[in-house]
Symmetry: C2
Subunit: 343 residues, 2 copies
């Protein structure tokens, strides 16, 4: 048996109130100046008695505005995403929009599918934490004129509103901190850059910064998320190679920090003693891991909130100039980047 929810429609209300649909519609849309007090009362009564809920689908169809915002998120299990989501969600609540959320699991195909899915649900705008889009998907987007804001990452060859981190500045902040604390050999560890500009930007900034300190060693490492053994080995080798120097690791995001911490654990290398460690993205457990892990905190919630605000502005006015908002990171110093006694 199919469940048949007893749908009560505007016509039912109109009949129960002894009036026409138009008046009920007016009542619903707050055009009370066109309704006598008595009629208002009858309509109000009928609505509560029948427990009536206007059908947003029908409304959306008619008015062409669904009050729906699409969200495409690359990986919902990433703490970064969760906090951003929380900010977006709050902004939606404040503006009366509802989120249609899709998780692409870092897969490009899913991203494309979800994009058209959201479009088919007539979302009024979308916020995208991009994995990487192919030409065709981009062209479709261009055509569809759908208001869109990217968070955290841009898409090559696609100009679009975007809200994210000032990666060069953040990277400088992190690198300078390590240099100041007298680390002599730095290893920048990130996930495979692939199509994700954020990763290359941070790496690039790291190299630029290190180029000014030719006396220091700067190395880099790209590591697949599902290969802990390789990570262990690479770190171990780096450490062996430079054990006569003060070494530090710079993790390119929160996921990497977690993996690096695990690897160090297994290698019996103690951050804050044998090795410095600094990670992009603040983590709730950063102070609990060993002597604490120094992190670069992003204002994730604000980024999410700002992203949604930007989508709303764009929905309101498609002719606005393209906007890029870059937030600043904050360094939270903990035991993993300990000071040399002398310095």
């Amino acid at each position: 048996m199919k469940s048949e929810a007893a749908r009560v429609t505007i016509s039912d209300v109109a009949r129960a109130a002894g009036t026409g649909k138009t008046s009920v519609s007016r009542y619903l849309n707050g055009e009370l100046n066109a309704l006598s007090a008595g009629l208002q009362q009858r309509i109000a009564d009928a609505i509560t008695r029948l427990n009536y809920q206007p059908n947003q689908m029908a409304r959306g169809l008619k008015r062409g505005r669904t009050r729906l915002i699409g969200l495409i998120i690359a990986d919902i299990t990433n703490p970064y995403s969760v906090n951003v989501l929380s900010g977006i969600e709050a902004a939606c609540r404040a503006s009366g929009f509802t989120l249609l959320m899709c998780n692409t699991n870092n897969e490009v195909d899913l991203e494309r599918n979800y994009l058209s899915l959201l479009r088919s649900y007539q979302v009024e705008g979308i916020v995208v934490h991009a994995v990487g889009m192919r030409e065709e998907a981009l062209n479709q987007l261009q055509q569809s004129q759908l208001p869109m804001v990217l968070i955290d990452r841009t898409i090559a060859g696609f100009t679009c509103d975007m809200v994210g981190l000032d990666n060069p500045a953040a990277t400088r902040l992190a690198t300078d901190h390590l240099l100041q604390r007298d680390y002599r050999a730095l290893l920048f560890i990130s996930e495979p850059a692939g199509t994700v500009n954020t990763r290359t930007e941070r790496l690039q900034a790291f190299r630029t910064q290190m180029a000014q300190h030719p006396d220091r060693v700067a190395e880099q490492l790209e590591i697949a998320p599902d290969n802990p053994a390789a990570l262990e080995q690479a770190i171990s080798e780096f450490y062996q190679r430079h054990r006569h120097l003060r070494c530090a690791l710079l993790a390119g995001n929160g996921t990497v920090t977690l993996q690096v911490a695990r690897a160090l654990r297994r290698l019996n290398l103690v951050w804050g003693e044998q090795l410095g460690l600094l990670g992009f993205d603040e983590l709730p457990w950063a102070e609990l891991a060993g002597s604490g892990i120094t992190t670069l905190q992003q204002p994730t919630w604000q980024i999410g909130y700002a992203a949604l605000e930007q989508v709303l502005r764009r929905i309101d006015d498609a002719t606005l100039p393209v906007s890029e908002q870059h937030f600043s990171a904050e360094l939270i110093v903990r035991g993993s980047t300990w000071k040399l006694p002398g310095s």
Copy 2:
């Protein structure tokens, strides 16, 4: 200027293909046996040329099925929720549904609002991580006949499909482990029980279990999430009171575990040395915190997946008997519940 997405409709496609809407609709719905090869081709061409996307709103309005599932989640920043969400999301993907996600921030009012919001978007079913509902909200739900599945928690006085943890068994597993490891004074710490049955169930099971061991000390503590100072003090007092015994703390969920770990840090009490610690919910950093924290891992992803499957079953057949699925927790032993050398 309002952005006016160049909406292309089924009529446009029909015109471009030199046919009627019906044939296009048939094509879209895979009724190809009723279409000549030539017409199929023309329609296919027109669709790609115009970059046409069927309007799901209109479809939903007409057919009465939106392929939309509502999700009400109590707190999206809780790792438990995130993993469950991930499972739900995967199940949606597998079944062709899309998620409308709402975060109630643990606020009862938001819960009620979102409930009717989801209804208004004609979702075909909902999955709810409940905060606590009042009479009126429940009555509305009963009336609306909306297929619904609760996760993790039940709602008092409301029979409904539910997927969650076997809390008594899980609690026994945890308690027995602590007893076996010779902890003599146990403190069960949870958030204020309020309307959340899960919390009381776990506490109840704890007390039942401890009642069988009158030689051991069993205490309990309810702590507001935003009051770290109080938590510190309570733990400190407990420890002072029983410092002649082997003490252990049992954290009622992942959020509490985090807070407890922080409090212990500030108190300079080391889990795995001065104090045992065991937490409900596995945490990605559990192995990294000090000597590691012993946890009770829930199959969160599976819980989410199963919840969505149950909603789908219920959508299909409203007359199914009410189902309660209880999953088992798994104990992951780490350094925080260390063995006594002798035993």
